[in-house]
């Protein structure tokens, strides 16, 4: 990888870090639960940046939050949030990004493969987040699922479909 390309990826990755951080604040009011775009940006970072830079992107996002800059949802930050009740979702972004990017790359960058990759990625986020929530709040699995997963599923489906369209349109623009 030559220097120019690497610089380009550096800038794009930091752009996606900023998008993930901002994604917690941009919401689209639809129905009772507003759709927050943060996990959509994580998935987009995965399928656009690829496994290595995508992983770097999420790692830097978590690092910034851990170091005390207010980038987590609600303008919060720090170890308290990362190990707090919703920390599982945040840490789940790491394997999610890697697997999603790997699948999307492995199946060829088509829209159908993107959708498959993003569905699996979203499931990974919940697989990390829901047991974490269960342990911290000492709820049963049924309750933890009802609080931490079911209300978001419809929004997730919408976000995945939208993200697939966006990725398809964006790839020729970015030209990686």
């Amino acid at each position: 990888m030559n220097n120019s390309k690497q610089l380009k990826m550096t800038v794009y990755t930091s752009l996606f870090v900023a998008f993930i951080a901002i994604g917690a604040f941009i919401s689209i009011p639809i129905g009772p639960v507003p759709i927050v775009l943060q996990n959509m940006f994580v998935l987009l970072a995965a399928i656009i940046l690829g496994p290595v830079w995508g992983l770097a992107c999420v790692a830097i996002y978590l690092l910034i939050g851990l170091a005390g800059l207010p980038v987590f949802a609600g303008g919060t930050s720090g170890i308290g949030k990362l190990f707090g009740p919703t920390g599982g979702y945040l840490l789940g972004y790491l394997p999610c990004v890697f697997v999603t990017a790997g699948i999307s790359k492995g199946l060829g960058k088509k829209m159908s493969s993107d959708i498959i990759a993003m569905v699996i990625g979203s499931l990974i986020i919940y697989a990390a987040g829901v047991p974490w929530l269960k342990v911290v709040t000492a709820m049963t699995y049924g309750k933890a699922l009802a609080v931490g997963m079911y209300p978001f599923l419809i929004g997730d489906v919408l976000k995945i479909i939208a993200a697939a369209f966006i990725a398809k349109t964006l790839r020729p623009v970015i030209k990686l």
Binding site: I28, I60, V136, T169
Partner: protein, 237 residues
């Protein structure tokens, strides 16, 4: 006082105290709460404004408290609809919620007394001994993404106002609404990122840059020793 402290020292102190909080008991928590209040007073931060900024997190803590109080088994205090609130549950829920609250306040104290740029240089300093991590590039990426954030927020506002002017907010299809907000936003910001890449290249950017400078205030040893004693006593109490 805290503002002038070396950022690396502050960061270590925050980590140490936060870690020890996770195994602290109720009495230790109250003690630490008093210490925190003292520092909030000293740094001139308004505690109520701070609490207001984390009100959703506090709501969440109440939720944890309630969930713990209902879920744990033990001597039942009172019950309704088959749910019983237990003594152990109340104690445990209170302790867990209180710990998270204090760790949160510690983080807030840190981030409100530290400049983002010095956080960046502290991260770079701490990553230096870690192998396979190009700490300088990480530092550049952190400062780039910090400077991108206000730009993105501004453009997101512009895009959504442009959509409103074209009656875009009447669109019922949520997928279309997401796409019409995010796609122009991404395109715009990626184009400006392209210009940034060009600008950086034409100014001969490379990873080989001067290290950031730290200006210790001379009280680091005192504070660090204090936080070690504090976290030890938190664990033991």
């Amino acid at each position: 006082m805290l503002h002038l402290l070396d950022v690396r020292c502050k960061f270590l102190m925050m980590c140490l105290v936060s870690m020890s909080m996770l195994s602290a008991q109720v009495f230790a928590c109250f003690f630490y709460f008093l210490v925190l209040l003292f520092f909030f007073k000293k740094t001139g931060l308004n505690i109520f404004a701070t609490l207001n900024s984390i009100k959703y997190f506090i709501l969440f803590l109440f939720f944890i408290f309630a969930a713990r109080a209902l879920a744990l088994k033990g001597d039942s205090l009172f019950s309704f609809y088959g749910l019983s609130v237990t003594k152990q549950g109340l104690n445990d829920g209170f302790l867990v919620a209180f710990r998270f609250f204090l760790v949160m306040l510690t983080g807030l104290l840190f981030s409100s007394t530290t400049k983002p740029s010095s956080v960046k240089s502290a991260v770079q300093w701490f990553l230096k001994p870690v192998p396979f991590v190009p700490e300088k590039r990480v530092a550049v990426m952190i400062s780039l993404s910090l400077s991108f954030m206000p730009v993105i927020l501004k453009q997101a506002k512009e895009v959504s106002e442009a959509q409103k002017a074209r009656c875009g907010d009447l669109q019922k299809n949520p997928i279309k609404r997401i796409i019409r907000l995010v796609l122009p936003l991404l395109k715009k910001t990626f184009l400006s990122a392209d210009y940034l890449v060009l600008a950086m290249e034409s100014r001969c950017y490379s990873d080989d840059r001067t290290d950031p400078e730290f200006t210790p205030s001379g009280k680091e040893f005192f504070f660090f020793a204090g936080s070690v004693v504090l976290s030890l006593s938190l664990v033991c109490l």
